[in-house]
Assembly symmetry: C2
Homo-oligomer: 292 residues x 2
């Protein structure tokens, strides 16, 4: 079962993660603690898992992706810490626990986010067993998809349309950048580290794009139909905030139809890899055909 496989992976990965942030002087240990707290607060570890899967799928050998797996999770975590800050979404809770700035104060949360973003590129640069040209390409992709024309551009656009109506083009832009870009980065980085062929990289990009949008649509559907208890987070938050979503724009039935189509698209893009892509195919189903 793919869900078991991800869970086992996440447990091993977290053990590794917990040792990566080390302060040399106890004077500033508060910011290191804040980093470790947010890194280990939970999460599916989807992005690092995708790096590893695409690396193996493209013929990569050994455990040489682990530094990039950590790097992408550092970046995902920093983005959540900064998103929760009062000047952004002002969220007091994250995964059922106090958010970083509630626990450590705003200044330390800001600095912990900055630290994770900075250390992400440091840990990535210490990758071994991969040709240095490939490491540099992967660092470049990580910056590009997390930067202005990636995740940060998406976050900026999302904030601008927090209180005004967005059309489908804007919503797609936000989705493609804010959540999609880092998922795509993960898939592409896995390929690059393995020295993949251009058509394998294209396939990974198509897979990531389809999964990224479907995943967001499912989230929008669950926010409308799910129960808080089952999801572990408040529901109807979009409606209460008057925020445009795929559901408010397209309706639930159309969203469900598209999720099915996008999942098929994601799986179809994997044909270039043959039978070896079974796990990633199952993952698309697992992520997109959730219980609603």
């Amino acid at each position: 079962m793919i869900s078991e496989k991800i869970k086992n992976y996440a447990a091993r990965f977290e053990e590794y993660l917990s040792g990566l942030i080390r302060e040399e002087n106890e004077e500033y240990s508060v910011v290191a603690e804040a980093c470790r707290y947010s890194l280990l607060i939970g999460g599916k570890r989807l992005r690092p898992f995708l790096i590893r899967e695409f690396y193996t799928l493209c013929g990569g050998q050994g455990d040489h992706t682990k530094n990039f797996e950590a790097a992408i999770e550092f970046i995902h975590t920093y983005s959540l810490i900064h998103d929760d800050l009062p000047c952004m979404d002002n969220d007091d809770m994250r995964r059922g626990k106090p958010s970083c700035h509630i626990k450590f104060g705003e200044a330390n949360a800001l600095l912990a986010g900055d630290a994770l973003l900075t250390e992400a590129f440091g840990v990535a640069s210490k990758t071994e067993g991969v040709p240095p040209e490939n490491v540099i390409k992967a660092i470049s992709v990580l910056s590009e998809f997390a930067g202005i024309n990636g995740m940060i551009g998406g976050q900026t656009t999302d904030l601008l349309f927090e209180e005004k109506a967005a059309d489908e083009a804007i919503l797609s832009l936000i989705c493609r950048l804010k959540t999609g870009a880092l998922i795509k980065a993960a898939c592409v980085i896995g390929c690059l580290l393995a020295g993949a062929e251009p058509e394998q990289i294209s396939a990974a990009e198509e897979y990531a794009e389809a999964v990224g949008i479907a995943f967001q649509m499912v989230d929008d559907i669950l926010d409308e139909t799910g129960s808080a208890e089952k999801l572990g987070k408040p529901v109807h938050s979009d409606k209460e905030n008057d925020k445009s979503t795929f559901v408010s724009l397209l309706g639930i039935e159309e969203c469900k139809r598209r999720v099915v189509a996008l999942t098929e698209e994601a799986k179809a893009s994997l044909t270039v890899f043959g039978d070896k892509a079974k796990d990633l195919s199952d993952l698309a189903d697992h992520l997109c055909i959730r219980d609603y």
Copy 2:
């Protein structure tokens, strides 16, 4: 004259800098604008200048350091944007102009800082004409000196001692990390990109350490004795904030004595480079023996 040389360098460098942040979609242009505003608001461009000088000094040829010059200025600029935020130093003005969050709002300033930090590693990774192993080493150093055990550790410690007395050991730690680390990163990166010998890198480190502390001591002296008009920023700010400084701890005369000694130390560390280090020797004088 070294001061003329830096000014000329800064003018050329700024022209290059201004073209580096480009948004692909106008929806999120506000954050790109905020980045450009803060990048071009001024500054001595000391850190990028140091990269270039040490590169040349260690035998580096051509214009291959320009991406790292931009990267270190991106990181310096992000740190100023985040430092000025209300939850940190809460400064409305920076170099005589409205700080980033006053001009673009808090959320956009936070994101602009995040963007500059992210893009720093992207632009660095696009370095050409240098062996990839050296690029990776330089990326690693950039992250290390800007990260938890570098600039961010210094900023964290500085915040902790904002309202309680610091002794000389703490003040030295803050100075070494908060301002010293990025100066040291610049000197070391210049060496690494040129493929320098270990004793050249050690010399660069010694130079950076001595200059970094002397520079901070001069700043503390000027805050005590200078005029706001001449400095272009408020004076006596440390005293009003009851903040420990080298001057409050050691007295002005002792600070002046140490600045002279540190400047000599910095210059002495350059002997390994012979006559070619004249500019860097003049720079130490220029930075440390300022008008007080």
